[in-house]
């Protein structure tokens, strides 16, 4: 039932002829309280979908920005458990913004797929992206999530062929997360033409909205992707604001930093197709 929030949001954005803005932050970064304030700032700044990173010690698909965010979060007591707690708190004050948890398999596996699904439902989480669970391995978790109405969101990449995309589409939920470039988060972006082909293929075969992420940093890039896809995901550029604030010693200033960056990205995405 909660996947409805994702559908409704993408449908509402489509009705406004614009891409959805998906904003990523790491849960508990730089600390649980400030992390919550940053989420509220994202919504205030125009983010349509929140992606909440669950910290992991070995984030092998992430670039330096999100690796460091994970370390800050873990040092502040972050965990999958704390991520669920933050989600629950967010949901208690916001009933409309879709909330997606993004992370790695081990903490979820360790909690137990059924236990996680139950707690995620109770916390009002709408979807889960598990970076290292490809379709070959996500069956048991997907079943547990489906029983609770939570979407198992899958990734497609520049290495995804037509045949492979069909496999990914079969069982994908919520939206398809299209990784713009073969690489880690926060690195360069792929060519516009390649992304267009990849997004169209993902949309055609999955019949789901397609959001593009990895390497989207500037409002210009966000606008370009907003013309190609149904959603634009920005992570590293927002997370960098938290790093800057912690390094400056004014930790709370990240709330403002995140807000400013999110607003400029939001404006770019909203006006991209005008």
């Amino acid at each position: 039932m909660t996947t409805e929030r994702i559908q409704k949001t993408f449908a509402a954005c489509a009705a406004e002829n614009r891409a959805a803005f998906v904003g990523y932050l790491m849960a508990s970064d730089p600390d649980p309280e400030t992390s919550f304030e940053c989420l509220m700032a994202l919504v205030e700044a125009g983010v349509d979908v929140i992606e909440l990173g669950a910290p992991f010690t070995d984030p092998m698909a992430d670039g330096p920005a999100i690796q460091k965010a994970a370390i800050r979060a873990l040092n502040a007591g972050g965990s999958l458990d704390a991520t669920l707690g933050l989600a629950e708190r967010f949901r208690s004050v916001n009933d409309s913004t879709p909330l997606i948890v993004m992370g790695y398999a081990n903490p979820v596996h360790h909690m137990g797929y059924e236990a996680f699904a139950g707690r995620a439902e109770a916390a009002g989480i709408d979807g889960l992206i598990t970076v290292d669970l490809p379709p070959e391995e996500d069956g048991p978790l997907r079943d547990a999530l489906a029983a609770r109405g939570i979407a198992a969101i899958r990734l497609a990449t520049p290495t995804t062929t037509e045949q492979r995309m069909a496999r990914i589409a079969d069982g994908a939920g919520g939206f398809v997360y299209y990784v713009s470039v073969a690489g880690v988060t926060g690195a360069g972006t792929g060519s516009e033409d390649e992304i267009r082909v990849g997004v169209e293929r993902a949309r055609r075969l999955s019949r789901l909205p397609v959001a593009v992420g990895f390497g989207v940093r500037t409002p210009e890039q966000a606008a370009t992707f907003a013309r190609l896809a149904d959603g634009v995901v920005v992570g590293s550029a927002l997370v960098e604001e938290v790093r800057k604030a912690t390094e400056s010693g004014h930790i709370k200033s990240c709330v403002k930093g995140v807000s400013v960056v999110a607003k400029s990205l939001s404006n770019a995405i909203r006006s991209a197709r005008a």
């Binding site: 398999a105 909690m111 990449t157 995804t160």
Partner: protein, 407 residues
């Protein structure tokens, strides 16, 4: 009316089509890498059934690595322990000084077959890095080795060797700067350079088909050992013993003996300061199943599923996971796993050097420490083969430091 009874779960027929050894193994990688590991599997199947591939591999093992490695009766160690006869499989005599090169040759030949033009590898102690850099030099391939910053500092001789061999060393600062972080960084490089790069994984772990292909390339150890001990003693051993980090030398020794159910398979994990202290690298004895680096296997992890750093005096065993086939052999009981502390390994290191005139690497010194117990358990009629998988030249500096000797 004879009935052919097929053992449906013959030990050696794993992994299954999904790359699983029972509940362990699999392909837990980012989607970007999935087409690559599927392609690698296809190419490996083709190479496996290609006599020319086998021939080139065997030729290089014989003439470049120096195989077969001898099977040596360790008479004075046998006398010292006063129990079963102890044989050493002398893989420390291989070119580059350890078993690692068997696998590197196999994987680099695969890379060439697949038209890949750049090789990457991770390394802890530097043995796998040196072996990979060596084979890359031999084939004129550029080689990038990821090594934790902490390990770069404590393994300077191997860093210099790799540089001499033409490899580029990337010190990894992320995480805690050890082997697991080097592996994370190698995976990040691979996902970024998918077109031209082949990742030579150093142990029998990672996403399918790596655990299988590393095992197959290392199984030359067990095949030779089985033949040699039959020739020397006219019978199979009662136990074969090897140390375990990721477990590639052990699985290479064990695999050809899997169906010989009278042969005990004994792996020795690094107990560090003692498993009870929490500072160790014994994934089976002190960990639980989880998902890391492409496979489901036993891992050192905390109550939140975060990975815990391993500790061992031996950098080559200092890894918080273990190859999935060992997890399977552990759960099914086909193999037995014991531990050995840093102190016990040091004692065995000194003992072997004095009694046999062989300086073992700290890794097999762990196995050696338990061989004494096993020899006593089996008694005088017993027969043990231990894989002496590496030589200790690389370890003399850290051993000297540990013993408080300046050199």
């Amino acid at each position: 009316m004879s009935e052919t009874i097929e053992r449906p779960n013959a030990w050696s027929q794993w992994p299954d089509a999904n790359g699983r050894f029972g509940e362990f193994g699999g392909r837990y990688v980012a989607e970007t890498l999935m087409p690559l590991v599927l392609d690698l599997e296809k190419e490996y199947r083709a190479a496996k059934s290609d006599p020319a591939f086998r021939e080139e591999f065997d030729w290089l093992l014989k003439h470049y690595v120096g195989r077969p490695s001898p099977m040596y009766f360790a008479e004075r160690m046998t006398e010292h322990f006063g129990g079963a006869k102890i044989y050493f499989k002398r893989d420390e005599l291989n070119h580059t000084g350890a078993h690692k090169i068997n696998n590197c040759i196999g994987q680099v030949l695969l890379a060439r077959r697949m038209g890949k033009t750049r090789i990457i590898a991770e390394t802890g102690a530097g043995q796998h890095g040196v072996a990979t850099a060596t084979v890359c030099a031999r084939f004129g391939l550029p080689c990038v080795v990821f090594m934790g910053k902490t390990d770069v500092e404590r393994q300077k001789p191997n860093v210099f060797r790799m540089k001499l061999l033409g490899a580029e060393i990337v010190p990894v600062e992320s995480g805690t700067g050890t082997l697991k972080d080097a592996m994370n960084e190698a995976l990040r490089d691979w996902v970024t350079n998918v077109e031209n790069t082949f990742y030579v994984i150093g142990t029998a772990a990672g996403p399918h088909p790596y655990p299988e292909l590393v095992r197959d390339f290392q199984s030359v150890i067990g095949r030779e050992a089985r033949e040699q001990i039959l020739e020397a003693e006219g019978r199979l051993p009662d136990a074969v013993v090897a140390c375990i980090g990721g477990g590639s030398n052990a699985i290479g020794l064990f695999h050809p003996f899997l169906e010989d159910e009278g042969v005990k398979l004994i792996g020795v994990e690094a107990g560090g300061h003692g498993v009870e202290t929490g500072q160790h690298a014994a994934s089976l004895s002190g960990g639980e199943p989880g998902i890391l680096h492409g496979n489901r296997t036993y891992l050192l992890q905390d109550k939140n599923g975060q990975i815990i750093d391993a500790h061992s005096i031996s950098a080559g065993l200092d890894y918080p996971g273990i190859g999935p086939e060992h997890s399977f052999l552990h759960e099914t009981g086909r193999a037995e796993y014991r531990t050995c502390t840093d102190e016990e390994a040091l004692d065995a290191f000194k003992l072997c050097t004095k009694l046999e005139g062989i300086i073992p690497a700290l890794e097999p010194a762990h196995a050696l420490a338990r061989v004494g117990d096993i020899a006593k358990e089996l008694g005088k009629d017993g027969l043990i083969v231990m894989n002496l998988c590496g030589r200790g030249d690389k370890d003399i500096f850290s051993v000297a430091e540990r013993l408080g000797v300046g050199i």
